[in-house]
Symmetry: C2
Subunit: 154 residues, 2 copies
């Protein structure tokens, strides 16, 4: 490969490495998810599942598609994630009205679990805050909440 081309390639790689937003949120995702997954492990629940459980309990009852809208999770992903949580006994899914939009809600077991999750979550939250610093932690909230409001518009 020519010298000139090589330099172009290097410059392109450097530019992307120094600027890319996707690379950065993906890095943060891996790093923070591992913190939360680790503290939740004694309860055999993942960070992803805690997120879903929290959203379901907050909303009391809702359809899978509404939940997908709130969390911006694709319907097929949600379908299988919910199925795992149903098998674990944390949520109940009412598919009685055939074909109609299903309803999802937390079971008693799922609600009780959340109370055990809370102190573990607080620990992970603190670890994260220490890692990022409190100013940057606030920034994460601000950015994500803004993105969510923008995405929900559409």
């Amino acid at each position: 490969m020519q010298q000139a081309l090589q330099q172009k390639v290097q410059k392109a790689a450097s530019a992307i490495a120094q600027e890319c937003f996707a690379m950065r949120v993906r890095y943060l995702n891996r790093s923070l998810t591992s913190i939360y997954d680790e503290v939740f492990r004694p309860l055999s629940i993942t960070a992803s599942q805690v997120n879903m459980l929290v959203a379901i309990i907050t909303q009391q009852t809702l359809s899978p598609s509404e939940l997908g809208g709130i969390l911006n999770i694709e319907k097929s992903t949600l379908s299988r994630n919910l199925d795992r949580m149903r098998k674990a006994g944390w949520v109940e899914i009412d598919s009685s009205q055939p074909g109609r939009s299903h309803t999802v809600q937390a079971s008693e077991k799922g609600q009780a679990l959340l109370l055990n999750i809370l102190p573990l979550w607080q620990k992970a939250q603190e670890t994260t805050c220490t890692l990022l610093g409190s100013e940057r932690s606030k920034a994460i909230r601000e950015v994500a909440d803004h993105a969510r409001s923008e995405i929900m518009k559409t």
Copy 2:
């Protein structure tokens, strides 16, 4: 379930929903990754693979474990991701010294691909900047780069 307990559960869920960092970076990850995946689709490469290719080209040559350190990706994940990229012909993996640390580098095809990726990446980058606003975009960079420097210390 008792009324008092129900309230505790609701409060816990609200607190987590309003504060959780993991929920937020996971949301951003899904939202931004889909923007980049979409623009890269014509080249049959994913955002994750672009990240890896960029890191490899920037470093010129390095071992899988070094790459894992840079991107904070678990070694087993990396092993399989690299294998897919090798099969696609974008990287070369030298395992000649048996048992010793392997070396990874981009192939000519991989380097040429990066030049085609660049304009698509710029488009995704702009879309993201419009979605987040330029101040918040800067904040993402600041937070992730700080986290990376903290994590690299250890």
